[in-house]
Point group: C2
Chain length 287, copies 2
């Protein structure tokens, strides 16, 4: 297993972690000052500063990406909405190419309308079929650009609102169906927050192997967890066996960035400098 | 599939649903008035009125049980605590026998101490081993009494605090390991709230079959869900495909009670009469 204690060359910052404190250009400057070598930005943060500006700022600082957030939300109430989602996903792939991202992370969508508290239908089987078809269609486009897609299984508590793919096993079944040749263009983004509880996690990480393991996200699961979305913990403050899971990842051949992704009202209230410094020190000690 | 629209002969009430409004003896009287034929009571509710009193009240009203809540919490920090838990579980089996319960429901436990916000260890593998050993030991005792044990997989969001068995597949793997002969003395309690999201649900219900399907609990999953424990929905207010899942259960041979189990700050604030009447009418229309 790689030794993380002496430097943070394999740390990436998911920029949602301090999105409420700083704009993306400020985040990139501050990451550069701290020798953080990669980030994973969100589309809306990029759009606010401008795609070209961000691309050139990253280049001048020699900062890479560990992923681009995010594509997905394929399920929809009507054919028109599904088409609009696919069009938007194609734009996401184009942006990811311009930024030099290694992959687009997919939050695939759940029951349409559920995110606004008004599910249009409650048929999980239908949602999953629409998601499958959506990934297939996006993959056709992404293949043409050479841009890998990383399906992110979300925690089952977010199945209705955000993603009806909730286990690594399910995500890999879809990868095998759509990309049996393991081209490297379809795989998974593994976020410990979503999957730490899964009794089949070790087995499925092995099954995935290096060709499918496109991204690795860390934070922690707090006890108690007070909110289903914005109560993620800083690494070391919760119960996730971070070193054990990274051991499984590396045992399966993963050698990429550990991306720190914390959505947390508590950490969004802190000074961003302190958050960044805490991320780096926890990365070196507990990740 | 059984027709529930004309009567509620297969409705059972989990008595936690109105625990904040009425004591258990009042609940039993009110269920009898409404021709509810079964309940599933909690140990503390029984203890408050007295085991013998409840047993004779049930008998005089000819009200049965669909389960007894609950055994479990096998994982623990020390050998002494594990022994104490087993002793307590044996008493639970004895009480279930006196009440004529068809099974004891097991909430198996997660990381010891996590429920109080102070996990003693974070090793899910260890917790699962202790849980496995605990079920094995309890099963020895339950066999002697002829009392079936029903493992209840809990939602993954409760893995740390309450139960490290979080999928039906995992529960059935344990059943197969400890009771390969399918004696009828070890099975599962399936609560839609915990498992509705699972892409393998239909497949695993089929695998379970009538010998393993010992209890079936219904409520609903709300969007948004505002609390990880006490924000369950009344059937019909959320996104769970209740008729589809009951179809799978009955297709696998289950013909028992549909137990309504709602932990909800919203419904605990309502008049218990209204809650009971709503349960009955929703049972007839959407379950």
């Amino acid at each position: 297993m790689r030794d993380f204690s002496m430097h943070h060359d394999w740390l990436s910052l998911n920029t949602a972690t301090i999105r409420k404190q700083w704009s993306l250009d400020r985040i990139i400057d501050e990451c550069a000052r701290r020798s953080v070598k990669a980030i994973s930005p969100w589309r809306d943060q990029v759009a606010k500063v401008g795609l070209r500006n961000i691309a050139s700022q990253l280049k001048s600082h020699d900062i890479g990406l560990s992923g681009y957030c995010r594509g997905g939300f394929f399920s929809a109430a009507t054919r028109e909405q599904r088409e609009a989602s696919l069009e938007d996903n194609r734009r996401t792939v184009d942006e990811a190419c311009e930024l030099g991202a290694p992959c687009v992370v997919l939050v695939v969508g759940g029951l349409p309308g559920a995110l606004d508290g008004k599910p249009v239908y409650c048929d999980m089987g239908r949602a999953r079929t629409e998601v499958f078809d959506g990934i297939a269609s996006m993959l056709d486009y992404a293949r043409g650009c050479g841009m890998p897609l990383a399906i992110e299984p979300l925690h089952p508590m977010q199945a209705a609102e955000r993603a009806c793919i909730n286990t690594l096993e399910h995500a890999l079944d879809i990868c095998d169906a759509l990309d049996p040749e393991e081209s490297g263009l379809l795989g998974v983004a593994l976020d410990v927050y979503h999957v730490w509880w899964d009794p089949k996690l070790e087995q499925q990480i092995k099954r995935a192997g290096a060709r499918r393991l496109l991204a690795y996200h860390v934070c922690d699961w707090l006890t108690p967890t007070r909110d289903l979305l914005n109560d993620r913990g800083m690494m070391g403050d919760g119960v996730v066996e971070l070193k054990k899971i990274r051991g499984w990842m590396e045992g399966a051949g993963f050698q990429g960035y550990c991306e720190i992704e914390i959505f947390s009202d508590r950490w969004w209230r802190e000074a961003a400098d302190a958050v960044l410094d805490t991320c780096i020190s926890r990365y070196r000690t507990v990740v």
